[in-house]
Amino acid sequence: METLERLLLGHKFLAGIDPAFGRLLVGCTRNLRFAPGQYLFREGGPADEFYLIREGRVALELHAPARPPIIIATLGAGELVGASWLVPPYRWGFDAKATTDTRAFGLDATCLREKCDADHHLGYEMMRRLLPVMVRRMQAARQQMLDVYGHTSA
């Protein structure tokens, strides 16, 4: 457990966090490994866990009828996968698939929500770390929507 705590606190997403919070988080955490092609979760499934990638790469995919899935982003070491665990009804909005051997921490969503509700300092700390990630991804998605490479010349 001590090793898991040390590894968890060494993750980029939790860099510099109060060790007391780390001790709370580690109780909700397990070590996971995903093989290439293995899904972390599927669209519509229960968002009962979120993931901090330690190694490897995860593709976020959206499906549309009569065409191959579209990869909308890939995430790698140091990044987190999934925010739907925070938002009722706690269902995933896309698929997440490992594209390489991937190691990650899985954080139990119910456990984490309960601890955040019980300790608002922990809740604030988590929100303070999650919000910039979500904003950066929203901005990136907006840039992708612009299709900036579609009509240029040089």
């Binding site: 579209i70 990869i71 900036v148 490479y149 009509h151 240029t152 010349s153």
Partner: protein
């Protein structure tokens, strides 16, 4: 004195005839032309400079040089068919003749990066104007710190120079990271925008010089990400694109605030133009 001033013909408005020696189809609408002069020798050029290429009877467009500046036998130009003139140039067959004026414009400050970490960030067709700088840097990589090439494209099918990207990526002296905006699962690389790659690249921001080329939106966001990472504005250089016509700073079509992109650019330092990039009317 720039290479442009050294090598331009006596009348910079007179196109010289150049023969298309070979054409390489890069993507569905992009081709790289290998050109040789019918009159005189091949002028020297500095990475970042451009030529005006004339499809006779159709029109003339500014196209950056995309070949090796150390190769004295040819000019290489990578062109996307977006209008009548560029479409005619892309369609030019080996043996056909095009008009050419140049080289013109400012160059990537490659020498200023010696001793520093170097980030080369390209989007879409923007890899073409950076390729000469990459050749120059990789020919003397020991003079630089860490070298990283970040390249973003619309999708896997639209990426330029894939063979070379793979070859550069196999080298120990450069890190190459390629991302695309969208892909299907047959793509095993990164998906996402170029600025998002920056936080994952190992470099010393206080000791880094960055060269950026691509669509202006991508340039803005990339420069912002670099500034956020701590890279000094005066060490970020962008290749700008405007409506260049005369290419020698006379006609004013490419005016960008206090600069003419053809003469003062296309490579400009970010600290000089950052405020202008936010002005929609320019």
């Amino acid at each position: 004195m720039s290479a442009a001033q050294q090598s331009s013909p006596a009348d910079p408005m007179r196109p010289a005839p150049w023969r298309v020696r070979a054409v390489r189809r890069e993507t569905a609408d992009v081709a790289t032309l290998d050109l040789e002069p019918l009159e005189g020798g091949v002028p020297g050029f500095a990475p970042g400079q451009f030529n005006m290429i004339y499809a006779f009877g159709i029109g003339e467009v500014p196209i950056s040089l995309s070949g090796d500046p150390a190769d004295p036998t040819r000019f290489m130009h990578t062109v996307r068919a977006v209008g009548a003139a560029s479409a005619a140039i892309v369609a030019a067959a080996p043996g056909s003749v095009l008009g050419l004026r140049g080289p013109f414009g400012s160059a990537w400050p490659v020498d200023a990066a010696e001793g520093l970490d170097l980030l080369i960030v390209a989007g879409g067709l923007g890899l073409a104007p950076l390729r000469p700088a990459i050749y120059q840097v990789l020919a003397a990589s020991e003079r630089f710190g860490r070298i990283a090439v970040l390249y973003g494209g619309r999708g896997p099918a639209e990426l330029l120079f894939r063979d070379e990207l793979a070859a550069w990526g196999a080298r120990a002296d450069v890190t190459v990271t390629v991302t695309v905006d969208h892909a299907d699962p047959s793509w095993h690389g990164h998906v996402g925008v170029v600025p998002a790659l920056i936080e994952h690249v190992g470099f010393d921001p206080s000791n880094t010089l960055a060269l950026l080329c691509g669509p202006e939106v991508m340039l803005r966001f990339t420069a912002t990400a670099l500034r956020g990472a701590g890279v000094a504005a005066e060490r970020i250089f962008l290749s700008m694109e405007r409506n260049m016509k005369c290419a020698i700073g006379l006609c004013g079509h490419c005016q960008f605030g206090a600069d003419f992109v053809c003469k003062d650019g296309p490579v400009l330092p970010y600290d000089r133009i950052a405020a202008r990039l936010a002005v929609r009317e320019i």
